[in-house]
């Protein structure tokens, strides 16, 4: 059992962390610009905003040519990507490329490639799940899935050794990472994530996702979005889109807190085909591996 002083000291290190990178500067204005009604958006302006960051623009173009984003034609330019894929899709891609730079080059325990494969996989499952149940916005679900484990990034920067020990415990015992963190740090990556999300001034719904996706209590707001992330994250952890180890336990998605939340809000959940959503994960696997590895090369 970890002492209260120790826990406070570890959290203090996250709060006072100075060296953590932030998401690329162009992404904040871009995401705010894309919140406007779609008829007010200008293709050239979106293209110009992304093009300010050369490396981000190049990675966006790579990802735009992936079948994961529904494209089957070769896209040669950033403008072409915006036209072919649409504003929301390009924003998703820009965000994915942007966040992949956030992990330290030397990570304790967790492999950053595997970590981002889990996050990107979770984003894709969230989007697919949201589309199927039609009561959560798929674009928001994608972003929430991509960023849900922000707390792990905070832990990697602020507490590399302590987090490394927690990760090792989870891997060795094949237990959920947040439980191992709770045991060794006295808190989990939701608590760390809340501190980082506040500092980055993320939207209220993203803050809720980052800080509540493992909470035993139901979030007061944005509970549907948090539930989509909670269930998609669990599904990924029980399949090949995990953190590099697979939890040795039996899980019933229907018994999760998130299921109860969504069952109230989404009528379609009563007849939802969970098996098919699970099998569809296989469709993403190779592409997710290829993309993340290409960006990390």
């Amino acid at each position: 059992m970890i002492s209260a002083e120790k826990k406070a000291s570890l959290l203090g290190r996250i709060e006072s962390l100075k060296q953590i990178p932030t998401i690329p500067a162009v992404l904040g204005p871009l995401l705010r610009y894309l919140e406007q009604p779609v008829e007010d958006l200008d293709v050239q302006k979106v293209t110009d905003m992304i093009a300010q960051d050369k490396s981000l623009a190049a990675q966006c173009l790579q990802m735009s040519n992936s079948a994961l984003f529904g494209n089957w034609q070769k896209i040669e330019s950033l403008r072409g990507a915006v036209v072919a894929l649409g504003f929301q899709r390009v924003a998703d891609i820009a965000m994915s490329c942007g966040v992949l730079r956030l992990t330290p080059t030397e990570c304790s325990g967790i492999d950053p490639v595997v970590f981002w494969e889990h996050s990107l996989g979770c984003a894709l499952v969230c989007r697919q799940f949201a589309r199927k149940i039609s009561c959560v916005d798929p674009g928001k679900a994608y972003l929430a899935g991509l960023l849900h484990d922000l707390g792990i990034i905070a832990n990697l920067w602020a507490l590399p050794q302590e987090f490394g020990a927690a990760f090792e415990l989870a891997r060795r015992e094949r237990i959920p990472l947040h439980e191992a963190e709770q045991e060794t740090l006295g808190f989990n990556h939701c608590d760390s994530g809340r501190l980082l999300a506040d500092r980055w001034e993320l939207s209220p719904e993203l803050r809720e996702v980052v800080s509540s996706h493992h909470s035993s209590e139901e979030p007061k707001e944005h509970a549907g979005l948090v539930a989509v992330v909670e269930l998609s994250d669990l599904l990924c952890r029980m399949t090949r889109l995990n953190y590099g180890f697979i939890e040795a336990r039996e899980v019933s998605l229907l018994e999760q807190r998130g299921f109860a939340v969504l069952a109230r809000e989404c009528k379609s959940l009563a007849t939802f085909d969970w098996a098919r959503l699970t099998f569809e994960l296989d469709s993403y696997m190779d592409e997710v591996h290829a993309l993340v590895r290409a960006i990390y090369r």
Partner: protein, 300 residues
Amino acid sequence: MNSAAATSSALSGVGPPDPALIRIRDLIYQVAGIFHPDTKLRLLQDRCGRRMKELATQSLQEYFEFLTVRPQRQAELIALLNEITIGETCFFRNMPQLDALRQIVIPKVLEARAKLPLRRLRIWSAGCSTGEEPYTLSILALEEATRLLKDWTVEVLATDLNERSLAHAKNAVYGSYSTRNLTPYYRQKYFSLAGDQLQVQPHVRANVNFSRLNLSDDAKMIFMKSIDVVLCCNVLIYFDLSSKRRVIQHFYNNLLPHGYLLLGHSESLYGVSDEFRLVHLPGATAYVKGERPQSGKQVP
């Protein structure tokens, strides 16, 4: 641009999948419960291609019509399902499922059975074909005989409709295709050389009871009692919905209250049963006998 785009386009093929192929994928899932993710679409296309060659059909759209509106559609569907599942049978076919069985399912079953006086575990390979699956289960039980299953008796029931398959199974001699997944450890410990083939050793065979059984035979199905785990892989796909429901109902009744039903890779009970509860195990899914009545979560 670096290799990402090239890699992804190589993975995805040169263009979008033929819409008729997607319709065939959905048809197979709807009638047989087997799902082909995007990464397996090319395999599905190859299997359709073999049938199309036989029928001298040029397009997938026309072949889709063979499966849905032509007079022999039922027979064609079975022919395609045969192509899809051909060559599936081998020792240690679905490793994530077998690992989950060993690490999660059996310990949970033993825990539930601890309350019962008889220390006996009954695993049923329903539709065992030529015997690779039940012998694999017997090997797993022997591997755990001094640990997890110490002081337990394990009985593997293996049934199939086809007499020739059962004769092959009882003979227990296998060629290189069936034994391709065997590690040197298993080869050495549980098999003997029989010419250029491998024969399952007697102590593995001793745990397995083969018998002929038609899963649609209600009168015989009721005699399969006190089962802990049913494995029924790529068998239900050949049944129509009402027969499938009847078989699943039998499995439900045959299983003890803590029992598990394990299906083939990417096979689902969606729309077939709301009594079994889908659970996720490490890298696999399974169905657990739920308490009835359940509030209609699975059947639309």
